[in-house]
């Protein structure tokens, strides 16, 4: 089904081909019928091997016939002397090798070879390794062969060091060998393990790997294999589970928590006890989308005992305790008698909240990498891999300090790599939003990010306690992530390209939405707002407004008092 070029043929040629195929088909059908017949009669003989072999040689994915062959071998092993069997097995290996020569990417053949090697007496694993070498010589990217190699390596007790050496040689022959780089990423953590490094490899080895990979991309800066490998070396941090924010709200009688990564709160996975002034409160946890049994970064607790479990006009303390896990155990929040809302924010050290994304290497190493890749940039100012790697390094080193450079490099990427412009736009948005959030005083509960060409919202879960959000005049085309704005009262998103309002249905406290000059084109798109208690809606400048009936709008959103500045 792959790589068969369609050739124009004459009617005469077609007829000849048809006749030839007819003949072939007759033999083929007779053979397959005979095989099924023999298998039904439990005949495990040489003849069965011969006929199945003929079929499998032309149709190596016919798995039922491989299975029959396996049965034959198991049966013969029980009934024939070992020395005779060794010869039959050897014949099978030869047969399989010839199959692989015509079809080196057949799952069936490689799998059957594993079976034979595991079943035969005295298998010669070293010879199998040579076979792998040979087939990787023909095609150094054949992943079936690489997988078979890993199987053989395990059986033959070949050390990871020897295999690393093998990949080094392969890479020296041809840098552009993604399979070899991949294999190195698996071998290094085995040979030089280091738990403290996020990619699990000792720092001094990492430095040597940087040299190897630099060699590769200085030789051929367009070779993506080396760049992907380089990105891996830079590493990525593991985020520890914890609580970013804990908030209690008397109006909605809820406790909301926002975790550093998605968790599932349920009796079977992770239970969280809630204590009011030291006393356990019975209740249920749901996500901001009203779900249970899912992973989410935002969870809302409501009491099932008492609808107004957070007492009015009294000082109170709400604490949470994660049962059986070591995060969020000591989080609590105090609310005094006059407050309607209170929260407890985990204070991240300035500039570190998002840094752990790329932090395997120490700052020194990152700086050295940046320096040498900037040298390459002098030679290759239009190379997208160079530009993007510089962006990654700058972002890892000091996103604030390099903010301008990052902006310049990303703009350049947007112009030279036209197929992936939206990837770069999103990356740019990520840098901007992260820098903004790093400096934000969350206790103001206001987010204002206008006129920034933001194309997507990142880390929306961090917006969960914000009351007023202004994202006007950006490049947003949806309200993806907006369901996280659980405390939002005012949302301004004028001048974007938003087409739907789906996620807004979860914002129970929303009072004002200003979405002028967007792409809302149908009345049905307004339906999510009907589930909120919104009072004011500014919809001017959307295609839907052209011949809109205010009564229809009111029907969809009964709570609405003010539509595009008119009282309703």
């Amino acid at each position: 089904m792959h790589g068969r070029v369609k050739v124009k043929t004459t009617a005469e040629q077609q007829e000849a081909k048809r006749k030839e195929r007819e003949k072939k088909l007759k033999i083929y059908t007779a053979a397959t019928e005979k095989i099924f017949e023999k298998r039904k009669n439990k005949e495990y003989d040489e003849e069965a091997l011969k006929i199945t072999g003929e079929i499998l040689a032309v149709n190596s994915d016919f798995s039922t016939f491989w299975n029959y062959r396996k049965e034959i071998f198991l049966n013969m092993t029980e009934n024939k002397p070992e020395n005779e069997m060794i010869e039959i097995f050897k014949g099978e290996l030869q047969f399989l090798e010839s199959c692989l020569r015509t079809n080196p990417k057949s799952y069936g053949v490689w799998n059957h070879r594993c079976f034979i090697m595991e079943t035969m007496p005295k298998p010669d694993w070293k010879k199998e390794l040579e076979l792998c070498n040979l087939f990787l010589e023909y095609d150094e990217r054949n992943f079936h062969c690489w997988d078979y190699r890993r199987f053989v390596v395990k059986k033959a007790n070949i050390s990871p060091e020897e295999e690393l050496e093998f990949t080094t040689n392969k890479i020296c022959n041809n840098f552009s060998n993604f399979s070899s780089w991949h294999y190195r990423s698996k071998l290094l953590p085995l040979i030089y393990p280091d738990e403290n490094s996020t990619i699990g490899v000792e720092e001094n080895i990492l430095i040597k790997e940087y040299e190897t990979v630099q060699n590769a991309f200085f030789t051929d800066p367009d070779d993506q294999s080396a760049w992907f490998y380089h990105r891996w070396l830079l590493g990525r941090g593991k985020i520890k589970t914890g609580v970013n924010c804990m908030l209690i709200d008397r109006t909605y009688q809820m406790l909301m928590i926002n975790t550093t990564q998605p968790v599932m709160i349920s009796p079977s996975t992770c239970e969280i006890d809630v204590l009011l002034n030291g006393e356990r409160v019975e209740g249920t946890w749901r996500t901001h989308k009203q779900q249970t049994d899912v992973y989410s970064s935002i969870w809302i607790f409501k009491s099932t005992e008492d609808e107004s479990w957070i007492p009015m006009h009294e000082d109170a303390e709400v604490a949470m305790a994660v049962v059986g896990e070591d995060w969020g155990s000591s989080d609590s929040v105090q609310i005094n008698s006059t407050q309607t809302v209170a929260w407890n924010l985990t204070h991240e050290e300035q500039g570190l909240r998002f840094r752990d994304e790329l932090s395997a290497a120490t700052t020194d190493t990152l700086q050295r990498e940046l320096d040498s890749i900037q040298e390459l940039y002098e030679l290759e100012p239009e190379n997208k891999w160079v530009l993007l790697t510089i962006v990654s390094l700058m972002k890892a080193l000091n996103p604030k300090q390099y903010a301008n450079d990052i902006e310049i490099f990303l703009s350049k990427l947007i112009t030279i790599d036209s197929s992936r412009i939206n990837y770069y736009w999103d990356l740019r948005s990520k840098c901007l939003i992260e820098n903004y959030l790093e400096e934000l005083d969350f206790s103001t509960r206001v987010i204002s990010l206008q006129n920034q060409n933001i194309s997507c919202l990142v880390h929306p879960e961090l917006f969960s306690m914000v009351v007023k959000i202004d994202l006007s005049n950006n490049k947003l085309d949806s309200v993806k992530g907006f369901s996280c704005f659980q405390c939002a009262v005012d949302i301004h998103v004028d001048g974007n390209q938003i087409k739907d309002l789906e996620e807004l249905s979860f914002l129970h406290g929303l009072k004002l939405l200003s979405i002028k000059d967007n792409n809302i084109s149908s009345l049905e798109s307004l339906q999510p707002l009907g589930k909120t208690s919104i009072l004011k809606l500014y919809l001017f400048g959307n295609p839907v407004v052209e011949n809109i009936d205010e009564l229809e709008v009111k029907k969809i959103i009964p709570s609405l008092h003010n539509f595009d500045g008119h009282m309703m």
């Binding site: 089904m1 792959h2 790589g3 068969r4 070029v5 369609k6 195929r21 007819e22 072939k24 088909l25 083929y28 059908t29 099924f36 149709n59 994915d61 016919f62 798995s63 039922t64 299975n67 396996k70 799998n111 079976f115 990217r141 992943f143 690489w146 997988d147 890993r150 552009s176 993604f178 399979s179 991949h182 294999y183 990423s185 698996k186 990619i199 051929d220 800066p221 367009d222 070779d223 993506q224 294999s225 992907f228 490998y229 990105r231 891996w232 990525r236 990564q261 998605p262 049994d293 899912v294 992973y295 036209s418 197929s419 992936r420 412009i421 939206n422 990837y423 999103d426 990520k430 993806k480």
Partner: protein
């Protein structure tokens, strides 16, 4: 010197519009030529072949042209005592064909015409201690089979019969430095495999375990200047890989990271305007497999003359909704 990019050139004469009627005729005729050479030589994957053809027809709103009774009867005859399905009558059972069978039955809303309990028994018997799945009793392990098992159970609403956490752990153990996934722990990333693993994690609600920035970047780098997508670095573009990459991007919410117009142009160029059907690349021979993935790809890219496709199951969205399956994509 640098290695040249492997890619294809799309000629000016390549098709530029969608030839829906031709494709429907091609698929309808394919199943009716039962003594055709091509047809007989592919009997070892018949069940999957039928799923490709029938799903393609349903996406084109032409499923009623196919013989439902004949299909259901065939499927019934392919179920074994153990509960699994073979590719054809008399062929050995395997998870690959069990999934195809269940997909067709779901398409026809006819799950009850086979023994569902037996299917559950078959699938659960293939899960191993490490969470992985054998493809059949012979013991080959592959993340493709993890997808088959989970997708199958989701379609028959029996996901809680296996150890989902362990199944997830196994799939994660196949994650690689590039954010992608391979066949087994240690195997290189490959878009077909990525689709299976991402789809599997989507079905069981664990998409947050994927590094979407890293994987999304690797996936969008599969797009070549011709617009087509390849399955791994330094490989040629292909309609089927285009689907696997595209659907994975869709599931992790990064579909917009590739250039849609260019990909549409590439997929359309893979049509055969004489015979109907799609090939792997422009100018190659067509087959039902690439025809389904060509259509499904165009559907994800927003072509409204094709039914909306579900990126995880590669079946019409309306069928998945009818089966009561809910998934949160990113």
């Amino acid at each position: 010197m640098g290695t040249p990019i492997k890619d294809v050139v799309i000629s000016d004469s390549a098709p530029k519009s969608l030839l829906l009627d031709k494709h429907a005729d091609y698929i309808a005729a394919y199943g009716s030529k039962k003594d055709d050479y091509e047809y007989i030589m592919t009997e070892f994957l018949r069940m999957s072949g039928m799923y490709w053809g029938l799903t393609a027809m349903d996406l084109m709103s032409q499923l009623e042209r196919m013989n439902k009774d004949e299909v259901i009867e065939f499927i019934q005859q392919c179920q074994h005592e153990c509960g699994g399905f073979g590719a054809s009558i008399g062929h050995d059972p395997h998870l690959l064909y069990t999934l195809s069978a269940v997909q067709i039955l779901t398409l026809y809303d006819s799950q009850q015409s086979v023994n569902i309990d037996k299917i559950v028994e078959y699938i659960t018997s293939l899960q191993q201690d490490d969470g992985s799945f054998y493809g059949d009793k012979w013991g080959e392990v592959d993340t493709r089979f993890s997808f088959c098992a989970v997708a199958c159970l989701a379609l028959i609403n029996q996901l809680d019969t296996i150890n989902v956490d362990k199944a997830v752990q196994f799939v994660l153990s196949c994650m690689n430095f590039d954010g992608g996934f391979g066949c087994r722990p240690g195997s290189e990333s490959h878009s077909g495999q990525i689709y299976c693993c991402v789809g599997m994690l989507a079905i069981v609600g664990r998409l947050h375990l994927i590094n979407t920035d890293m994987l999304g970047w690797w996936l969008c780098e599969r797009q070549l200047p011709s617009g087509g997508l390849n399955g791994r670095p330094e490989k040629l573009p292909d309609v089927c890989y285009s689907w696997w990459v595209l659907s994975s991007l869709k599931i992790i919410g990064k579909l917009h990271w590739i250039n849609k117009d260019k990909l549409v142009k590439f997929i359309l160029a893979c049509q055969d305007d004489e015979t109907g059907g799609f090939a792997d690349r422009p100018g190659d021979m067509v087959d039902p497999f690439h025809t389904l993935f060509g259509l499904a790809g165009l559907s994800l890219l927003g072509d409204e003359s094709i039914k909306q496709v579900n990126p995880v199951f590669c079946m019409p969205e309306e069928v998945i909704r009818r089966a009561g399956i809910k998934m949160d994509l990113l």
